[in-house]
Amino acid sequence: MQVKVNGVTYEHEVEPRLLLVHYLREVLNLTGTMVGCNTSNCGACTVLLGEESVKSCTMFAVQADGREITTVQGIAENGDWHPMQTAFHENHALQCGYCTPGMIMASISMLKENPDPSEEEIREALEGNYCRCTGYENIVKAVQQAAGQSA
């Protein structure tokens, strides 16, 4: 299979049953993407397939053949944080940080679909991303800031 991850093209022979999240973490060493539940519920493994958020624990790596994947490690440009990362940082939208890579990728995908979401819409769009420690208040504020809304 050949896949472009964070702008770099890779070619690997993989077993069909290898899940995309394990390919990213164990073959490419891109351990920024987390494994939480492995039951498709928690969202820790969220990455972008093209421009859309997907749960990388619920896709086989071979299905990404010829596609473009972006992980949390691919969104900063020339060493500058992505605005969503800055917003999470400034709004204290993380504590342990386990959910953060997934939260950030799901949030970026959400703003692509809906550039000016209401608070309600933000909460709904993140319902498949669990955070065990921060509480969602600051996460919602961060997304509002990244959307250019004064929170």
Binding site: R17, N38, S40, E52, K55, M59, Q63, A125, N129
Partner: protein, 283 residues
């Protein structure tokens, strides 16, 4: 959490998929969005020896206006159904419900054809398609045929599909401005599956009910129509709705599980049928 090993084939067309199904026999399985299949493969509740991937069949991702109905390709993702303008305008219940299936990341992958072919009576789409009296188009080695929703769902995770058949399209009627609809999903947490769901499509005239079609989620081994309530509502006025809804669980056979007892499900079906019809009357 790692599936049993399998061989992987990419279908280049529907005919190619049918051919591959023929070649590999009964141990082969189609995969569309993978959001029902991969979870059960991870748990090793399913262990197909060959997966035939429909993921690349972009020509099955469409919504077309066909006059009196909409035709929707089997590989149309839930998120695309949810945002589609034709669906919003002509079949609101479908777009609304597509937005309830898991979260956006689930909806970016899961497909309309997949959720029907899976045949899970806890799925939201099967009962919505039943209430809409939609049609499922399937193709096999002997060509194409159409199956009405009431004949498509046979039993728990079991549909009218033959081993070598592929769902290619789903057809739903365009709803007129006199048609109200509602889908009510009762679940404990957002993103959860329905403990009970009620899909209502109501034809209205002068503030009364002409006819109503009601599909129930999680009230038996298939999606079920609440036929007793439908009959009671035929020609009814709004103040007869509550009584009609009291027979919503007639002829159903809900199960008991961790989420709810059969008795509680029956109660929910009655309550939510009333609420769904009331909402449909106001929409």
């Amino acid at each position: 959490m790692i599936p049993v090993a399998f061989d992987y084939e990419v279908a280049e067309s529907v005919d190619h998929a049918i051919e591959l199904l023929g070649q590999h026999g009964e141990d082969a399985k189609l995969i569309a969005g993978g959001h029902s299949l991969i979870p059960i493969m991870r748990l090793r509740l399913a262990a197909p020896s060959v997966l035939i991937d429909l993921d690349r069949l972009d020509d099955l991702n469409y919504v077309r206006d066909e006059g009196d109905h909409l035709a929707i390709g089997a590989m149309t993702r839930h998120r695309d159904v949810h945002y589609n303008e034709l669906v919003r305008e002509h079949c609101g219940i479908l777009g609304y419900t597509a937005g309830l299936l898991g979260d956006p990341s689930v909806q970016h992958r899961g497909t309309l054809g997949g959720t029907l072919a899976h045949g899970d009576p806890a799925g939201d789409m099967p009962s919505v398609i039943s209430a809409l009296e939609g049609t499922i188009v399937v193709k096999g080695p002997d060509g194409e045929r159409t199956v009405g929703a009431s004949d498509f769902f046979k039993d728990y995770l079991f549909t009218d599909l033959d081993e070598q058949e592929v769902v290619t399209e789903v057809r739903v009627p365009k709803l007129s401005s006199d048609t109200g609809w509602s889908y009510k999903k009762f679940s404990r947490r957002s993103q959860d599956w329905a403990i009970v769901g009620v899909a209502a499509v109501v034809e209205k005239s002068n503030g009364n009910i002409d006819s109503a079609r009601i599909g129930l989620t999680s009230m038996g081994s298939t999606p079920i129509r609440a036929t007793a309530t439908e009959q009671a509502l035929s020609g009814a006025s709004p103040d007869q709705v509550a009584e009609a809804a009291n027979s919503a669980d007639e002829g159903t056979s809900p199960g008991t599980d961790d989420a709810a007892s059969a008795e509680f499900r029956r109660h929910l079906a009655r309550v939510w049928t009333r609420r769904a019809i009331e909402e449909a009357l106001n929409r």
